[in-house]
């Protein structure tokens, strides 16, 4: 029973998240059916469609029944239909997700090794110019609005030098070179933020580990400082990184929404923003909900892997 407790907690978290999304629609001033219907200008069948929506979501029945209908829809993975194109929201999410996922994965692949290297070496050269400049740059990278960096990169590499395409997307299997040249700038833009955060994290962890006795002993034994840093210290200070990377996925998705807008990538961010501008509420709600659920599941996974790698945390 005790072993199951964390999973019960996550179930409750999922439930609260789902409920917050439900409440956010009902708290809106005005008729939720109108919000779900979206723009209706020039349509003859507005009244009929409103009645349909009321019937479908039980909007003319008590709130408890509305909630029941909503929950059973979620459990059966029915996120409703776009009020513009009549396409299923789950289908729209499935089409857009690979672009966003690959953007995030590629930026992680780029950012993680760089920040590990920078964080470890900076902590070893504590309070020297190298350490100070790494930490200052990391903080700056964290504090820069990503879309601004993105636009500066586009202007330099695409417009001034003409090296890379400024925006657009080509599928990996259609044209791998085109894919990477289109993904290069967005990935660098998103990775920059991640490098900032992770470097700062690795630095703090490493600085703490370096103070421990076993490191002093290894040094006294004459083991080279390179080996101490990359073998002994790294093992201890990098395991908590799994948790942080899991947490950062949420921030990265938020960043990806904006970066996709800058580079015209057809990912989840694009889907979401077009839906907001087109007042396509079902798509907004369904997309936010599915992304948040995935983020929660990834965090569970991160915690699980962390426990697997770090037996101390079991106690």
């Amino acid at each position: 029973m005790r072993k199951l407790a964390p999973y019960f907690r996550f179930l409750v978290i999922l439930w609260v998240v789902v409920t917050v999304v439900f409440v956010s629609l009902r708290l809106t001033p005005g008729d939720p059916a109108l919000l779900l219907l979206g723009p209706t200008a020039g349509r003859q069948d507005t009244a009929e469609r409103l009645a349909d929506i009321r019937e479908r979501y039980g909007l003319n029945r008590p709130i408890i029944i509305q909630y029941g209908i909503y929950l059973s829809d979620i459990v059966t993975a029915d996120l409703g239909k776009s009020n513009r194109s009549e396409r299923r929201v789950s289908e729209l999410v499935k089409t857009a997700a690979p672009v966003t996922i690959s953007l995030i994965l590629l930026s992680m692949l780029l950012a993680i090794p760089i920040s590990i290297y920078l964080g470890l070496t900076a902590a070893q050269k504590r309070e020297r110019p190298y350490d100070r400049s790494v930490r200052t740059l990391a903080t700056l990278a964290m504090a820069t609005p990503s879309f601004w960096v993105g636009l500066l990169l586009v202007n330099f590499f695409s417009i001034r030098l003409g090296l890379l395409p400024p925006s657009g997307y080509i599928k990996l299997f259609v044209d791998p070179i085109g894919y990477f040249s289109h993904m290069m700038l967005p990935v660098v833009t998103l990775a920059l933020y991640l490098i900032g955060t992770l470097t700062r994290f690795v630095y703090t962890e490493t600085a703490d580990t370096l103070e421990q006795d076993y490191i002093r002993v290894s040094r006294a034994m004459g083991i080279s400082s390179k080996r101490i840093l990359f073998q002994f210290v790294a093992r201890n200070s990098l395991t908590p990184m799994i948790i942080i990377v899991g947490v950062e996925v949420g921030t990265l998705i938020g960043g990806a929404v904006i970066v996709e807008e800058v580079f015209g990538l057809p990912g989840l961010g694009r889907l979401l923003l077009n839906a907001v501008l087109g007042r396509d509420y079902p798509v907004v709600q369904g997309t936010v909900l599915s992304i948040t659920v995935v983020v929660i599941l990834l965090n569970i996974l991160a915690e699980f892997v962390y426990k697997l790698l770090n037996p101390r945390s079991k106690i």
């Binding site: 907690r9 409750v12 978290i13 609260v16 998240v17 917050v20 999304v21 956010s24 629609l25 708290l27 809106t28 001033p29 919000l35 504590r126 903080t139 700056l140 964290m142 504090a143 820069t144 609005p145 990503s146 879309f147 601004w148 636009l151 500066l152 586009v154 202007n155 417009i159 600085a207 103070e211 949420g250 921030t251 998705i253 938020g254 960043g255 929404v257 904006i258 807008e261 979401l272 923003l273 839906a275 907001v276 501008l277 007042r279 509420y281 907004v284 709600q285 936010v288 992304i291 948040t292 983020v295 929660i296 965090n299």
Partner: protein
């Protein structure tokens, strides 16, 4: 020694903080220009002595617009953090002090809110309530509550087991008094570490949301809405977006740095190293 080393950044940061405050309250003291003044002879003018950051597409002084934008920026930052503290601090005190079921429930709710990516949650709320300063402050406050809650809860757990709290309990001091008079003042230190960090997040989220059209809407001026407007002038007038983005980055970086400084001051172990 430590005080000497720490003095320089503190002087720089307090000067910048003072400047920010003046630009928010009395912007007219810092610039002779008005942020809505149109000057057709100065469209996208290059930086010069009279216009240090150049002019925008309407001939308005960019520096003046940045200075006048500070007010809204500061309102968003301070407003969201203050609102989050009003809810986060009492909840954290209660959860940390009493523990048990109420602690479990509050923590689970906090963790649920934390698992929403802030930008996505903002998109959801803006989609139903529309974009405005108030929506922005509300969304940020909602996202910050669990962060403040967790900090205060953790601190309260540590402090409430200390001797002086125990003796206050034994003397029959009212629980409310223990929470707010005996425990809360001792959580101020760590709170001073997290507040600048949250304000930095607020600056960046405001910039991002305004940039995608879901935050502050032009003609209202904030740094985010200026970044949105300057989007089209990266080639024709690069100083314009550079100045706005540079100021935003600088503000966020200074906030993060001052959080770090406060952390070093609060945590004596870190200071020794």
């Amino acid at each position: 020694m430590t005080i000497k080393l720490m003095k320089l950044p503190i002087i720089i940061f307090s000067t910048l903080g003072l400047l920010t405050l003046i630009s928010a309250i009395f912007p007219q003291f810092l610039t002779p220009y008005h942020p809505d003044e149109i000057d057709v002879t100065a469209l996208l003018q290059k930086p010069s002595w009279s216009h240090p950051f150049g002019c925008d597409e309407l001939g308005t002084d960019v520096l003046a617009r940045i200075i006048y934008g500070t007010r809204l920026e500061l309102m968003v930052c301070l407003g969201s953090v203050a609102l989050a503290s009003i809810f986060g601090i009492p909840c954290g005190l209660v959860a940390g002090y009493f523990g048990g079921k109420i602690d479990w429930i509050l923590t689970v709710i906090a963790d649920s809110i934390l698992s929403f990516p802030i930008i996505l949650f903002a998109v959801l709320i803006v989609a139903s309530l529309g974009a405005s300063v108030l929506t922005l402050v509300g969304v940020l406050a909602f996202a910050f509550i669990p962060r403040i809650f967790r900090l205060i809860r953790g601190q309260t757990q540590i402090i409430s087991s200390l001797g002086y709290v125990r003796s206050a309990e034994a003397m029959g001091v009212k629980t409310v008094k223990i929470l707010f008079l005996h425990i809360l003042p001792n959580t101020i230190g760590p709170l001073m570490v997290i507040v600048p960090q949250l304000m930095a997040i607020a600056v960046l989220i405001e910039a991002g949301l305004s940039f995608i059209g879901l935050g502050i809407q032009p003609p209202q001026i904030s740094w985010g809405s200026l970044l949105l407007v300057s989007k089209n002038y990266y080639v024709a007038a690069p100083w314009y977006p550079l100045a706005v983005g540079g100021v935003t980055t600088l503000a966020a970086a200074v906030l993060v740095f001052s959080g770090d400084l406060a952390g070093a001051a609060v945590n004596p172990l870190r200071r020794l190293k």
